[in-house]
C-alpha cells in the first residue's frame, strides 16, 4: 500500500521536474519501509487486545483448578484437562438449552420473514390512505428497546399463561421494524419495468412478490437473517425475564447459571462452558466475516 503511495509521489515529483539524488531516494525508501513495518506492528498490537482475552479463555478452560490460582498467571497448562468441558456440559440440561436456543432463534426468523416481506412490499409498492402514519408507527418501534417494555410485556404474558413457554420468547419478536425498513429500501430499488411486465402478463400480486421481488432482494434477506439469528441466539435479557423454568431456558442462561451450580471461582469449568458458547459463533464469524459484518454495519449506514 504505502509502496504504491511512494511510487505515485515520486511520479508526481518527476512530472514536476524535481529529480532527487539517488541517495536521498534510497533513504526515503528505507524510511518508508520502516514506517510500513511499524504501522503493521501497531495493528498487530491492536489485534492482540482482542485476541488475547479469547486465548486466555481457551487456556483457562484446559487448566486444573490449582493452575488457575497462580499469580502472576501462566499461559500454558502442564497437561490439558479436557474433562472441564464434560463437567460444564453435565452441570445442567444443556441439550435442552441448545434445543431451546434453536427453536427460539429459528422460530423468530421464520415468523419475521412471514411478516416483514409482505409489509415491506406493501410499503414499497402500494399507495393507500394512512400509509405514512402506519409506516411512522413501524419506525417508532425501531427505537423501542426490549429493556423498556419488558415489565408490562411480562405482565401481559403472565395473564395469557405464556410465561415459561417458547412462545413468550418468540412472539414479541415475530416482526422486525429494522427488517421492514431494510427490505423496503431494497424493494423500492427493483426496476419498475420488471413489475409492469409481470402485471401485464396478469401475474397475481403474490406471485410478483415471491417470484420476482423476493429473489432479487435475497442478499438483503440473508443479511437480515444473519443479524436476526445472531442477535436472538445471543440474547440473555429476554429469556432471563420471561422464564424461570429450565425446560424453556436458552443456552446463554444455562452458561451463566454454571456459576451457581459449580461455584463462582471454578474458572476452568466456567471458561470451558464459555468456549462452548462463544467459539461456534466466532468460527461462523470468521467463515462468513464479510456477510456478518455487513449484516451488523448495515443498520449504521442505511
Amino acid at each position: 500500500m504505502s509502496m504504491n503511495d511512494a511510487g505515485r509521489r515520486s511520479a508526481i515529483g518527476q512530472a514536476a521536474g524535481v529529480r532527487r539524488p539517488l541517495a536521498v531516494r534510497r533513504i526515503r525508501a528505507v524510511l518508508e519501509a520502516m514506517l510500513f513495518a511499524a504501522n503493521r506492528a501497531c495493528m498487530l498490537l491492536l489485534v492482540c487486545a482482542f485476541a488475547l482475552p479469547f486465548a486466555w479463555m481457551l487456556s483457562t478452560s484446559l487448566k486444573t483448578l490449582p493452575e488457575t490460582m497462580i499469580f502472576p498467571p501462566e499461559w500454558i497448562p502442564a497437561e490439558p484437562v479436557w474433562s472441564n468441558y464434560a463437567v460444564a456440559w453435565n452441570s445442567g440440561p444443556f441439550l435442552t438449552y441448545l434445543l431451546n436456543s434453536f427453536i427460539v432463534s429459528v422460530g423468530i426468523l421464520i415468523l419475521q420473514m412471514l411478516t416483514i416481506i409482505p409489509a415491506a412490499y406493501a410499503f414499497a409498492r402500494f399507495r393507500f390512505p394512512g400509509k405514512g402514519l402506519l409506516f411512522g408507527l413501524v419506525m417508532a418501534t425501531l427505537m423501542i428497546p426490549a429493556q423498556l417494555i419488558f415489565l408490562p410485556v411480562y405482565l401481559m404474558l403472565s395473564d395469557w399463561k405464556l410465561l415459561n413457554t417458547h412462545l413468550a420468547l418468540i412472539l414479541p419478536f415475530a416482526s422486525s421494524a429494522f427488517g421492514i425498513f431494510l427490505l423496503r429500501q431494497s424493494f423500492m430499488q427493483t426496476a419498475e419495468e420488471l413489475i409492469e411486465a409481470a402485471r401485464l402478463d396478469n401475474a397475481p400480486e403474490w406471485k410478483i412478490m415471491l417470484r420476482i421481488m423476493a429473489p432479487l432482494a435475497r442478499p438483503v434477506l440473508v443479511t437480515f437473517a444473519l443479524f436476526s439469528f445472531i442477535t436472538h441466539w445471543n440474547d440473555y435479557f429476554w429469556p432471563l425475564v420471561m422464564t424461570t423454568n429450565e425446560s424453556a431456558r436458552t443456552l446463554p442462561l444455562g452458561i451463566a447459571k454454571i456459576r451457581e451450580t459449580e461455584g463462582t471461582a471454578t474458572w476452568n469449568v466456567l471458561m470451558a462452558a464459555n468456549v462452548m458458547l462463544a467459539v461456534p459463533v466466532l468460527l461462523a464469524f470468521f467463515a462468513a466475516q464479510r456477510q456478518i459484518i455487513r449484516a451488523f454495519v448495515y443498520s449504521g449506514v442505511k
Binding site: 495493528m43 491492536l46 479463555m57 418501534t141 458458547l277 449504521g300
Partner: protein, 291 residues
C-alpha cells in the same frame, strides 16, 4: 368486488407486522404509564391508584438518584471513549487489503458473541487475585487493582468492557461512512495540496457527521439500557456503585414486586430514550446533504 379487494390488500399485507408492534411495543408503553400511577404487588387482585406517589417516592430515594448518576456517568464515559477512539481508528484502518480486513474482523469479533460470554470472560480477566489484567499490571510493576470489587473502580471497569465490545462496531460503521465519501472530493483536496488536518476538518468530518451523529445516539441509547454485564458481573454492587436504570427496574419489578414503582422508573427511562430519539430525528431531518 375485485376493486375493493385490491384496495384492502395493502392493509392485509401490513396487518401481521402491525399487530405484533401494537401488541408488544405500543400497548405495553401505555400499560406501563398506566401502572406507574398505581401501587401493585403483582399477586393482589387490586391495583390501588396512588397518583404521582411512585414518582415522588422515587425522586426522594437516594438510591434512585445514585442510579441516575451512575447511568449518566457510565453512558458519558462509554460514548466518549467508544466513539472518540473509533474515529481515528477508522481513519487508520480504512484500507481494502486482506491484512486490514483481518484487523477489522478481529476488533469487530466481540460484537457478535453473547454478552454472557463477554461478562464471564471479563469477570475472570478482572479477577482481583488471579486475573490476567492484574498479571499485566504486575509485568509493569504496578500493584494489583480490585476492579469490579472496589466501588471506586467498578463502574469504570464496566465501561472498559463496554468499550471493548463496541469499539469494533463503531469503527466499522465509521469506515463504511468514510468509504461513502466520493473519492473525487478527496482527490480534489489532494490536488489542491490541502493539508491532511484541513482535509479532515473541512471535508471528512462534515461528510461524516451523519455517521458520527448516528453512532453517538445509538451508543447513548444502548448505554442507558445496559443490563447484562451488570446482572452477571456486579449485580449492581459493590454498595450500589454500578446499579443502573434497567437493573434497578428489574430489581424492583422481579425481586421486590413493586410493579407500580418499577413502572415509574420505566417511564423515566422512556423519557430519556424518547428525548434522545426525538433529538436524533430532528437533527437528521435538518441534514439533507447526506445521500
Amino acid at each position: 368486488m375485485p376493486s375493493i379487494l385490491n384496495r384492502l390488500r395493502p392493509y392485509a399485507m401490513v396487518a401481521p407486522a402491525l399487530v405484533v408492534f401494537s401488541l408488544f411495543y405500543l400497548y405495553p408503553i401505555g400499560y406501563m404509564i398506566h401502572l406507574s400511577f398505581h401501587e401493585w404487588n403483582f399477586i393482589s387482585p387490586v391495583k390501588t391508584y396512588v397518583g404521582l406517589n411512585n414518582y415522588r417516592e422515587m425522586l426522594a430515594d437516594d438510591t434512585f438518584l445514585q442510579v441516575l448518576r451512575n447511568s449518566a456517568l457510565y453512558t458519558v464515559m462509554t460514548v466518549l471513549l467508544a466513539t472518540g477512539t473509533a474515529l481515528p481508528l477508522a481513519i487508520w484502518l480504512n484500507r481494502k487489503s486482506a491484512f486490514h480486513a483481518f484487523v477489522q474482523g478481529a476488533i469487530f469479533s466481540p460484537h457478535i458473541i453473547s454478552l454472557v460470554s463477554i461478562s464471564l470472560l471479563w469477570s475472570w480477566l478482572m479477577d482481583p487475585e488471579y486475573g490476567l489484567l492484574n498479571g499485566l499490571l504486575h509485568l509493569f510493576g504496578i500493584s494489583p487493582l480490585k476492579w469490579l470489587n472496589d466501588p471506586g473502580t467498578a463502574l469504570v471497569s464496566l465501561v472498559i468492557v463496554a468499550v471493548w465490545k463496541s469499539l469494533g462496531y463503531n469503527t466499522l460503521v465509521f469506515i463504511a461512512g468514510l468509504q461513502s465519501i466520493p473519492p473525487e472530493l478527496l482527490e480534489a483536496a489532494a490536488l489542491d495540496r490541502s493539508k491532511p488536518w484541513t482535509t479532515f476538518r473541512r471535508l471528512i468530518l462534515p461528510m461524516l457527521s451523519p455517521t458520527l451523529f448516528f453512532l453517538v445516539i445509538i451508543n447513548l441509547i444502548g448505554s442507558f439500557q445496559v443490563f447484562e454485564t451488570i446482572a452477571i458481573m456486579t449485580q449492581g454492587g459493590p454498595i450500589n456503585s454500578t446499579n443502573t436504570l434497567v437493573y434497578y427496574i428489574y430489581e424492583y419489578g422481579f425481586r421486590f414486586f413493586k410493579i407500580g414503582y418499577a413502572s415509574a422508573a420505566g417511564v423515566i427511562l422512556l423519557i430519556i430514550v424518547g428525548t434522545l430519539t426525538l433529538i436524533y430525528f430532528r437533527l437528521l431531518s435538518r441534514r439533507v446533504h447526506y445521500r
